[in-house]
């Protein structure tokens, strides 16, 4: 199970790193090379985003990546193929990230089965609150896959607790209001919020939205368990090429 795996890693690392790529952007070949580079850099787990035409919770950078991947011909089938390969070849856990329509059109149960088949360990579906996810929860549960849910600074205490009852693997704590890719002020405010998250669940906490560099990761160390680096790696690849990925990741932790 994902949680067990993460706990084990946490015995050796004060904080884990999770990165994110959009499948098919800039191409599936490049995606493979990026995964390779990230693993070489020492990431602990990765989100593979299946592109969707309406990525409502994503900011401009990831949004554009979604569109370009689709324009270049990315399909769900090719994303599954890709996941199959990286799960076999790399020793870290991979998660799918996508919007609910991708799962819904595939068939939620069939999708969970396909994930299990290919060794994908869990999924993040930002537009699927637990209340809408009964089928999904059942299907994931049946295959011991982790449905990753989200905490936000706006989530009320009783809701944090309720979400904790269905979440598996870890909880993804959105560091601030807004979409992916915008700047986050890492502040006392954030510390407070993470304390509330910690109180609500025994699961490891991933912290995302706006983690850019080593000082951000340092800030999170001791407060969260996983630092999520999303948009920043896309920016680095776009400006400095895939060759810059490994040193970037490596540089995030001391």
């Amino acid at each position: 199970m994902l949680e067990t795996h993460l706990r084990k890693r946490l015995e050796h690392q004060e904080i884990l790193l999770m990165t994110h790529i959009v499948l098919g952007y800039p191409s599936f070949e490049d995606c493979y090379r990026i995964v390779e580079a990230m693993v070489a850099g020492g990431v602990d787990l990765m989100e593979l985003q299946i592109p969707f035409s309406e990525p409502i919770a994503d900011g401009p950078v990831i949004l554009m990546a979604n569109q370009q991947a689709l324009a270049a011909g990315a399909t769900v089938a090719r994303c599954l193929e890709f996941a199959d390969r990286v799960c076999r070849e790399f020793p870290i856990p991979f998660l799918f990230m996508s919007y609910y329509n991708i799962l819904f059109k595939f068939g939620v149960d069939a999708f969970a089965a396909a994930m299990a088949d290919r060794g994908v360990r869990g999924a993040i579906v930002p537009d699927l609150p637990p209340e809408e996810g009964a089928d999904y929860l059942a299907a994931m549960d049946r295959r011991e896959l982790a449905p990753i849910f989200i905490y936000s600074p706006n989530t009320r205490p009783e809701r944090l607790a309720r979400i904790a009852t269905v979440a598996r693997g870890f909880v993804y704590c959105v560091a601030r209001k807004g979409v992916t890719g915008a700047d986050t002020r890492f502040s006392a405010h954030l510390e407070d919020y993470l304390r509330r998250c910690r109180a609500a669940t025994a699961l490891p906490l991933a912290v995302g939205f706006g983690v850019k560099d080593r000082s951000d990761v340092e800030f999170l160390t001791g407060k969260g368990d996983i630092a999520v680096i999303g948009t920043q790696t896309i920016r680095i690849i776009e400006t400095q090429g895939i060759g810059a990925v490994t040193p970037f990741i490596r540089g995030l932790r001391p």
Partner: protein, 408 residues
């Protein structure tokens, strides 16, 4: 967990976690308002002093004579302030925003109609206002952009996705997840996550309430059928609301664009190109491919050019409570020309879809029967599109001369 706005399995609330509290507040505010009789009175008061409600029900004598069948009535939403039924929804939501103590509103717009309506409401209520509009629509609906800016709204041209209505909705959500504390998202139609379909329908139901009362006064009986165009579904739901418990056929007309076979259309409720899906926060019929990616849509009427449709109409389709038809761009332009010529009414291109279907059916109905067509908006906003559809050379020359002067 409590009610999440399902209609035979359509609807729901597929929203990012960060909005959960915002939606809880909105639902609570809406519930409270709806169960407060003073609220509807306040709503009616503002609609009758700021807009022109009740809007008239016009007997289309010449069309009736021409088609020789049912007596044709036209519900005149075009006479609303800002020129369409959109005013009903925005003023209602505006009152809610005041109740919730928020100070800023955002909205998506396709045709520009809902954007102008929202910007107008914001000016009236003193709210800050940002309107998201696909870049393609900004280009084709420049007059509306001009007025929104004059009304004090910031108009953001959305350059992502297909750069039309659905992309503007996504962008509005992105704003909302950032600014939910100060901001209310004034969704423009009976779509999106709960409580929007219900709430927009509630405000638009003023159309149907009035129409029912008016037709009874005029004809002494109910209409046999009522017709409305279907974009997101708000004007249709508004009219239909008045007749849900009556033996009245509800007919929704979607945009068949260049024809169902062409793929260039926006027919979600009666086309094999559509299937059930979840996007933009709700479950309904979408025009999407097998993977669930949304397709491009097309209609001569910008306001119908949308991939989704009200979950309540999806329910009506499913349970057979309404019938859905489609009208092509060509049919629409012809019906528009004919209506202008015969009655001196200028329906919006959107509304003209409803006229097309009514014209097909009226001759087959009994002359003792009445039907109602919802004229959801006025067509003079569409002059750039309509002039192009007619290929009017004098208009083109006018624009060319005007451009010449701007270049000089």
């Amino acid at each position: 967990m409590n009610d999440r706005g399902y209609y035979s399995g359509f609807g729901g609330m597929f929203i990012p976690e960060i909005l959960s509290t915002t939606f809880d507040q909105l639902i609570a505010a809406f519930r409270a308002a709806r169960s407060d009789p003073a609220f509807w009175r306040e709503y009616e008061a503002i609609m009758s002093t700021y807009s022109c409600r009740p809007t008239p029900l016009t007997f289309a004598e010449n069309l009736t004579r021409h088609f020789g069948g049912a007596r044709i009535y036209v519900k005149r939403e075009d006479l609303n302030h800002t020129g369409a039924h959109k005013a009903n929804n925005v003023m209602g939501q505006g009152l809610l925003v005041k109740r919730m103590g928020k100070t800023r509103v955002i909205a998506e717009t396709g045709a520009g109609q809902h954007g102008v309506a929202t910007a107008t409401m914001a000016a009236k209520f003193g709210f800050e206002c940002t309107i998201y509009m696909g870049e393609v629509d900004v280009e084709r609906q420049r007059p509306n952009v001009f007025w929104m800016e004059r009304l004090g709204a910031k108009v953001v041209a959305v350059r992502t996705g297909t750069r039309i209505l659905k992309d503007a909705i996504n962008e509005a959500f992105r704003d909302w997840v950032t600014n939910m504390d100060s901001t209310h998202y004034v969704l423009g139609t009976a779509c999106g996550p709960h409580p929007f379909p219900e709430m927009v329908t509630y405000f638009q139901s003023i159309i149907g309430r009035e129409a029912r009362r008016q037709i009874l006064e005029r004809e002494g009986k109910l209409p046999v059928r009522v017709y409305a165009c279907v974009g997101g579904g708000s004007n249709a739901m508004g009219l239909f609301s008045g007749f849900l418990d009556d033996p009245v056929q509800l007919v929704g007309v979607e945009a068949a664009g260049r024809g169902l076979a062409s793929g260039a259309h926006a027919v979600r409720l009666s086309s094999p190109d559509a299937s059930v899906g979840v996007a933009q926060g709700y479950k309904t019929y979408f025009l999407q491919n097998r993977d669930g990616q949304m397709k491009e849509t097309h209609s001569v009427a910008a306001g119908l050019d949308y991939v989704g449709v009200s979950p309540i109409l999806s329910q009506f389709k499913e349970i057979g409570r309404a019938r859905f038809e489609a009208a092509t761009d060509r049919e629409v332009v012809d019906a528009l020309a004919f209506t202008i010529r015969k009655e001196g009414l200028i329906p919006a291109l959107e509304s003209a879809h409803a006229f097309v279907q009514a014209f097909k059916e009226a001759p087959l109905l009994d002359p003792a029967d009445a039907i109602i067509i919802n004229q959801s908006g006025r067509g003079d906003k569409d002059i750039f599109t309509v002039a192009d559809a007619f290929g009017d050379p004098a208009w083109q020359q006018f624009i060319i001369d005007k451009a010449e002067r701007y270049r000089a």
